[in-house]
């Protein structure tokens, strides 16, 4: 038998029709829907008098626009219309939805795994690029546009071109205070934000195996920031233990049958990859992004890079533009950068483990006087409740943080949580693009413990020495 990669196995098991030109009709097992990228797709179905192919494969939730404070009123009429449109579309097409008042509501990429809606071996799509998150469960999961949302709703399939196989092997073990977020930022810094374009990345190696499922989701979540539509991690005992007893996971005989099949969801020995990157986990330091793309990262003990040292003129110009936007001077130590706001949340870092790690850093301390706002936004209502049962909300509130309801919040600022022009934020989110967290806002991507430590110090600090 030909040795196959995990991606090859997932692809092969979902081919409905091979078109013989590198493209195929691929079956989609699960479709997650949110309010921003779905209205035009439902409208398309209506215009063409089409119905969803398979209702039970869909799950909808509002997350991008939802307020994280009082939810009884939504001031922005355009946001409100978009949220109401999702409610209306789900009701009229019969699609399951977790409404804002449901404790299971949350960020679409947090609730899929949390509910066991996302399972190993599945193909999973959503009109959101961070769908790569679900690849941590050895599922082929990737973001799609609205035309594809409509295509999946109508046909349960997508016309796709197979990607190439890329392996990112992370050997050794992470040092104390270094997290999965630092690991993936270091990978993006190394291969660049287009390094994984047209590839599916499988993450493997001892450092990956040692990660919890939450941490694996952080790694796969940011595959797209390296250009790869999908990231993958093989099934192991941690995957199976995580899924046991989830509300939508199989039970009884089906569970036994499922886990027997899931254990084969790994790349065969000797399987060929088009590209292999090896990284030593021991060499990864806590990371801080300095520019306006996730590849613009340095270690916390480093300095803001000097564009003058870059030989490629287009890159040099890009670095200059980034520094101008970020209001930073070359060669300034990262730990000398003062902050205005801190955001702990997003589909990258809003799971219970992220909140525990951040709370540990702030316990018994107060945020610095120059921090105007520090937000903690749990990834789902269930994460929020779990954190409250552990008393984490008190730890944050006593330190001066605001404890919010679940949603995407300041990761992209579609709701009222956003940066004002010129404000500088330590953020556990995934994108530091210009204007991402608010027009003119300046984002530095970091791990939850690094964001927590920065909130206390008022500037970046090495959490290992904090």
């Amino acid at each position: 038998m030909v040795a196959k990669t995990l991606y090859d196995k997932l692809w092969d098991s979902h081919v409905v029709q091979d078109y013989g030109d590198g493209t195929a009709l691929i079956y989609i097992d699960r479709h997650l829907i949110h309010e921003v990228t779905s209205p035009q797709a439902f409208e398309g179905l209506r215009i063409a008098h089409r119905k969803p192919w398979r209702i039970d494969a869909n799950l909808a939730v509002s997350d991008h626009n939802v307020p994280t404070t009082d939810r009884t009123t939504i001031d922005d009429p355009i946001s409100r219309l978009q949220l109401e449109t999702l409610d209306h579309n789900c009701a009229s097409f019969g699609i399951r939805q977790f409404k804002m008042s449901d404790i299971r509501q949350g960020i679409v990429h947090v609730i899929g795994p949390e509910q066991g809606f996302s399972l190993p071996g599945m193909s999973i799509v959503c009109g959101d690029s961070h769908t790569s998150t679900h690849g941590a469960l050895a599922a082929l999961a990737f973001g799609i546009g609205t035309s594809e949302v409509e295509h999946v709703l109508a046909t349960q399939c997508l016309i796709l071109k197979k990607s190439r196989n890329m392996l990112v092997q992370i050997n050794g073990s992470l040092g104390r205070g270094v997290t999965a977020k630092d690991m993936i930022l270091a990978v993006i810094g190394r291969i660049g934000m287009a390094g994984g374009t047209r590839h599916t990345i499988e993450f493997s190696g001892l450092a990956i195996q040692a990660l919890s499922m939450e941490a694996r989701m952080t790694v796969c979540n940011m595959s797209i920031e390296a250009g790869a539509r999908a990231g993958l991690i093989a099934v192991d005992e941690a995957t199976i233990a995580y899924l046991a007893d989830r509300p939508m996971a199989p039970t009884g005989g089906l569970w036994d049958q499922a886990i027997a099949a899931w254990r084969d969801l790994r790349s065969d020995p000797g399987a060929g990859f088009d590209r292999v990157i090896e990284i030593d986990a021991h060499g990864i330091q806590p990371q801080v992004s300095w520019g306006t793309s996730p590849e613009m990262v340095v270690s916390v003990d480093g300095r803001v890079p000097d564009p003058g040292a870059e030989s490629d003129p287009v890159k040099r110009d890009g670095m200059r533009k980034a520094l101008a936007y970020m209001g930073l001077q070359a060669n300034v130590p990262i730990t000398d950068i003062p902050l205005d706001k801190v955001f702990i949340g997003s589909c990258t870092n809003s799971r219970i483990e992220d909140l525990r790690a951040a709370a540990e850093v702030v316990r018994g301390k107060r945020i610095a006087a120059n921090i105007m706002q520090a937000l903690v936004v749990p990834g789902s209502g269930l994460v929020r409740r779990q954190a409250e049962q552990e008393g984490l909300d008190r730890v944050f509130i006593e330190a001066g943080f605001e404890w919010r309801e679940a949603g995407c919040s300041m990761c992209l600022g579609m709701n009222p949580d956003r940066l004002s022009p010129g404000e500088r934020c330590a953020s556990t989110s995934n994108r530091n693009f210009e204007g991402r967290q608010g027009s003119g806002g300046r984002t530095h991507l970091v791990s939850p413990p690094m964001a927590a430590a920065a909130a206390i110090a008022g500037h970046f600090v090495d959490v290992r020495e904090f």
Binding site: D21, L25, I103, Q156, A194, V314, L412
Partner: protein, 233 residues
């Protein structure tokens, strides 16, 4: 979508790497439930000096004179010349809609982000990939020649310059056919509905847990509100 076969248009140069979809259409404009009307907010933060909000009339906003699309010589451009990794970031199809709504029908770049590339061709926005060296030369030629136009011939897979220089590009056959005929993907897929049903039947045998409607709908009952495995969510 509108079929595209051949197009002659003015070329505007956007000389930046990694132009992301947040730059192409910022999030405050994604609240619309329509497919149209995004053109006035294309590249909003680069294009205007003031801060843009949703549902705002852009006719009286202050334009940034330094932004390339605001320069008189590029007014009415239908072809955008770009750099590496164009369209990276979020999956928002609004980025392709905004470019089309503005009047751009073709983007030429050394590389595109995967999701944007797919969104573009599914909407009749032609993404053309050329070698870096060719792109460099085009940037020079566009800068040096006011009114610089290109003819894009999808059938022949060529760009023809004003001085009749021909540049070839490659394009997947299936994408080319869909672009040229303006085909409805869903209609085509539904012609193979029997194959999809046959696949589902096979999978139901091999992997029945993927189809456990009872389990999925059980997830929507009040019982599940307790959540699983509370200590390790």
């Amino acid at each position: 979508m509108e079929a595209i076969k051949k197009l002659t248009g003015l070329v505007a140069p956007l000389d930046r790497h990694n132009v992301d979809t947040d730059a192409i259409i910022p999030k405050q404009f994604l609240k619309s439930i329509q497919r149209t009307g995004f053109g006035p907010n294309l590249f909003d933060e680069w294009r205007y000096l003031d801060q843009g909000g949703s549902a705002q009339d852009c006719a009286h906003r202050r334009l940034n004179p330094d932004f390339v699309l605001n320069q008189e010589r590029y007014r009415g451009a239908q072809i955008l010349l770009a750099r590496n990794n164009f369209g990276c970031g979020s999956s928002r199809e609004h980025a392709a809609w905004a470019l089309l709504d503005y009047g751009i029908r073709c983007v030429i770049a050394p590389s595109f982000a995967d999701i944007f590339f797919s969104n573009a061709h599914k909407n009749g926005l032609l993404p053309v990939i050329l070698a870096n060296s060719t792109i460099d030369r085009l940037f020079q030629d566009v800068a040096g020649t006011p009114g610089y136009e290109l003819t894009v011939d999808l059938e022949a897979q060529t760009l023809v310059t004003w001085d009749e220089h021909v540049i070839e590009f490659s394009m997947d056959a299936s994408i080319k056919r869909r672009l040229m005929e303006g085909l409805d993907d869903i209609g085509i897929t539904l012609q193979t509905a029997e194959l999809i049903r046959a696949y589902e039947q096979r999978r139901r045998q091999d992997a029945p847990w993927l189809f456990s409607e009872e389990i999925c709908s059980a997830g929507a009952t009040v019982d599940s509100l307790t959540g699983p495995n509370e200590s390790t969510i």
